[in-house]
Subunit: 367 residues, 2 copies
């Protein structure tokens, strides 16, 4: 820690491993499998911690990520974004080496895949259970049945099931509402599956995945796989939702203090939008913050302090509002640690992690 | 263009070169020098276009950038962030090779620099003219005089002048107000310089730099150097301010359409917060947008369409709201081009540029 001179993405590896094992334990001894989303950490080395916990299949959100993790021995990867039809050649190249599963929500996509995929491929139909990003609305049974039939009838395509991301869990006020949205999403998929089976479709898996929903739930009846990602690190957004506790947040940005302005009650740190990202979070429905300071010891960091908030970010500078008693203890050139609002976006901005004991962990470079 | 399969940062090199020459022309034949901020493009190759326009000295916002541009032959670099005292060794290493100019706004920083710098170094005092990020308030004459004296009396340090970033130009409603803030900032520095000279300080340069202020002004009387950066690319933020025109925006993100939802009036593109950044912009003081679509021909892109806006971003997905007549023309797998809200942050997220004629331009990699 004391050797750090510039903004550094610090990773508490023990916390991350505990987060992985906690999620893996939920599905142990059940028919549910954990297919974690690796977009959060984007690191082969962190990926191996999941393998240590028994994980065998993963989720990614770009072909670059799929290739990067395939190169580290992952052989069952779901690309959980509606398939980008311009990448068919790239998909075919990777699908010759590993099992690459794709996502569709339209006949146009299935037509193109049926014509151009050269490997037998599992195809998920993306369902919109209320988030309104991608997918067919959950109640459009006929449309889903038709699409499943179209997939089944295509030579190289195998209809595997229905998949959703109930991302509207992120907009809830607390864990009870998250649980309600999660339960509702699962029910909608289970009802739709029943309709699909009734219509003559032979089998249909159910896949769901968002960190808030999977964090508040202990069991996943009726679900075949869960795909949370952010839980490996958590962050202020998840803390605000009440789906993790402060001791579970596993990444922070360590950065030097470059300005102290006691009259304004502010300090300036070398840590800007190119380190934390501009993802903001409304605390108490008033101020938007971009990070919170935490006290740090050699054993890691403690509880973030709502009165010590990053209130503004430019490209390389962050403005931190501090109470007078804290500002008087800060020295120019000292280090502070900031918990990010959204760990996925913060991790994406760094090219490596540093662990608490000073080890470097590499990440995917080009995107 | 047609070969693009994944989100790509497109650069209209002719527009960028014209932007550079337009700014360089403003100071030609005057005693003002242009010391552009290179944080926007972070590219040695783009940097050479500035050299072609007669630029000999630059501004950066991190030691990593200073080292990267020094490696391409830049020998006069100002690190325009209050000096990070943890980086003294790194500063000394680079300052042995080039002229590296530093920024301070406190006695504590000058003390440390006086004790540890091993090369004669030009030191600017950072002045706060109303932006309230870093610097000594412009009316604290005595404090500035004391600091200038302290610098002058330190063996290795040379007081070069007073420097500001009037970043509050970004919060103005239009170009007239930008001009007013710019003029006020210049006046505040000139008055302060007069006080410094009256107090016995031998000489004092005046440095100012923000793209809005430097874009609306044609002349810079009383100013020794200007340090704008964003003008090389411009973006929606500058367009909204009215300090550039649509034909001057030189970067856009080209991305594939992966979902079409006519009933919602929305399409989904593979272009998310890891491509555009989460910098939002309120258009007409109502909706926050993260980018606007522009029509593209082989000659480049046209005027952005306020009715075709990126209204939501997740990590890899963008939701674009489109009028019905446009949505009916979009095909799955087609490409759209998005102008970014803040080109500095968007460029920071990509590892290279692609020019309109398909050439790759590399950027700084590690931060």
């Amino acid at each position: 820690m004391n050797m750090i001179t510039a903004p550094t993405l610090l990773l508490d590896a023990d916390r991350a491993r505990r987060n992985i094992h906690r999620m893996a334990a939920k599905i142990q001894g059940t028919p549910v499998s954990l297919r974690p989303h690796f977009k959060t950490h984007q690191s082969q080395q962190v990926g191996r911690w999941f393998r240590d916990a028994g994980v065998q299949a993963i989720t990614v959100s770009s072909m670059a990520m799929a290739e990067y993790f395939a190169a580290d021995g992952w052989t069952d990867i779901t690309l959980a974004v509606p398939v980008n039809l311009r990448e068919i050649d790239r998909i075919n190249r990777l699908a010759r080496k590993i099992k690459l599963n794709l996502l569709v929500d339209s006949k146009a996509a299935v037509d193109k895949l049926a014509d151009h995929l050269d490997q037998p491929t599992d195809i998920w139909i993306k369902i919109d259970v209320g988030y309104h990003r991608c997918g067919i609305m959950w109640y459009k049974t006929e449309q889903v049945v038709d699409l499943a039939d179209q997939i089944t009838n295509a030579e190289k395509l195998n209809f595997i099931g229905i998949l959703t991301h109930a991302g509207h869990t992120y907009h809830q006020p607390g864990p009870e509402e998250v649980q309600r949205i999660h339960d509702e999403a699962v029910l909608r998929l289970i009802d739709l599956k029943k309709d699909l089976l009734d219509s003559g479709i032979e089998s249909c898996a159910v896949s769901i995945g968002d960190t808030p929903g999977c964090s508040v739930s202990d069991k996943f009846p009726g679900v075949d796989e869960i795909r949370p990602g952010n839980f490996v690190f958590y962050d202020l957004m998840q803390l605000r939702l009440g789906v993790c506790n402060p001791q579970e947040v596993a990444v922070g940005v360590v950065c030097p203090v470059i300005g102290i302005y006691p009259k304004r009650g502010e300090i300036i740190v070398h840590c800007g939008a190119v380190h934390l990202s501009k993802e903001g979070l409304k605390l108490n429905n008033t101020t938007t913050v971009f990070g919170l300071l935490v006290p740090v010891t050699d054993e890691g960091w403690g509880i973030p302090d709502q009165s010590a908030a990053v209130i503004s970010l430019s490209q390389e500078h962050g403005i931190v509002r501090l109470p007078a008693e804290m500002i008087n203890k800060v020295e120019l050139g000292s280090l502070v640690t900031i918990l990010p609002v959204h760990s996925c976006l913060t991790a994406n901005l760094f090219d490596k992690y540093q662990t608490l004991d000073g080890k470097m962990i590499s990440k995917m470079q080009s995107k």
